[in-house]
């Protein structure tokens, strides 16, 4: 059953999802949202960084129009995920529902795994991975909204240690891509740029900005290699 494989391979994501979802649940309730509103935000928006911004802006009394625009702006990076995966995702009438689960992490996992799977297993794999991640996010939010303070009192270290599952997973997904000089330079520059931007507090802008600068480096090294080849030849 391909959906089981998808769910199994998405399990490492839970280490990153659940602690963050618990803290989102706590933050939202402390900001004045009810438990049900908090759970609905996670169920319907399902995008970590933008949910935190949504709650923070509402709590600060920002105009609703500005809340919508800023939240959507943060999620704008999602527009490249679907087209990048399109060659490996078969047509299905379920996409209006399934694409709801196309988060950063599911994209990263799917981009690495889908090309290795037979065509008939891809939709099942994606569904299993996406549903597990979505349910864990909603369940984590509910746990945080209902009993967040108690959970962080009982297991203070767990919330600090488990999120390391995300960088570990991204590292494993990226490692096989260091295949050439151009890719190694572009990937290293992107990682470095994203770290610097995050350290300077530009966390939300760092993913598209770092990826764009990495792409620039990729094409520059290609051009440089071609020019070098011409000069040498």
């Amino acid at each position: 059953m391909s959906w089981r494989t998808g769910a199994r391979e998405a399990t490492p994501l839970l280490g990153g999802y659940i602690p963050v979802a618990i803290s989102f649940g706590m933050v939202a309730v402390q900001a004045g949202f009810s438990v049900w509103q908090t759970i609905l935000i996670s169920t319907l928006i399902y995008a970590g960084a933008s949910q935190f911004l949504f709650v923070a802006m509402v709590a600060a009394g920002a105009p609703w129009g500005l809340v919508v625009v800023m939240t959507l702006l943060i999620n704008a990076r999602h527009v490249v995920y679907g087209p990048s995966l399109a060659p490996w995702l078969p047509k299905s009438r379920w996409w209006p529902f399934l694409s709801h689960g196309l988060t950063d992490q599911i994209f990263a996992l799917a981009l690495s795994r889908l090309p290795q799977l037979p065509t008939e297993q891809r939709l099942g794999w994606y569904s299993g991975a996406m549903l597990l991640a979505w349910f864990s996010w909603v369940a984590g939010t509910a746990a945080g909204a209902i009993a967040g303070e108690e959970l962080s009192r009982h297991w203070p270290l767990l919330g600090e240690v488990m999120p390391f599952a995300l960088p570990a997973l991204f590292l494993v997904l990226l490692a096989p891509r260091f295949t050439s000089r151009s890719w190694s330079i572009a990937l290293s520059c992107t990682i470095g740029m994203a770290m610097v931007l995050t350290l300077y507090g530009f966390t939300n802008a760092s993913i598209p900005l770092a990826a764009a600068s990495g792409a620039l480096f990729f094409y520059l090294t290609k051009v440089h290699a071609r020019a070098g080849g011409r000069l040498d030849g």
Binding site: P83, L111, F164, F170, L174, L187, A211
Partner: protein, 117 residues
Amino acid sequence: MDNGFWIALLFVSVGTLCMRLLPLLWMQRHLLKQKSKGGLAAIPDWLTVLGPLMIAAMLGVSLVPATPSLFTWLATILGAFSALMAWLWTKSLGWPVLAGVSTYGVVIVLARITIGG
């Protein structure tokens, strides 16, 4: 909370879903059209470059500790190193993540004990 909350939630939810769904459907249709014309169904070159770079950017963001200190950076470096070693050894997804998280956790606990002691 007033009606504004529900309207904003609706707009953000539908907007986010559209950003995930519409480009996917558009590209799937574009690839089918290319195929039916007898051409090679392929996504634009820049998209094949941008995909892995988005993952690299996510890695960069997630590598920065929530509370940067000497110990959290040390835990990050050692955790990443052990995840990489486990990947080289097993070439799987789950074991490297487990190795990375365990190493990270051990360094954090040891740091707590050292500071506490």
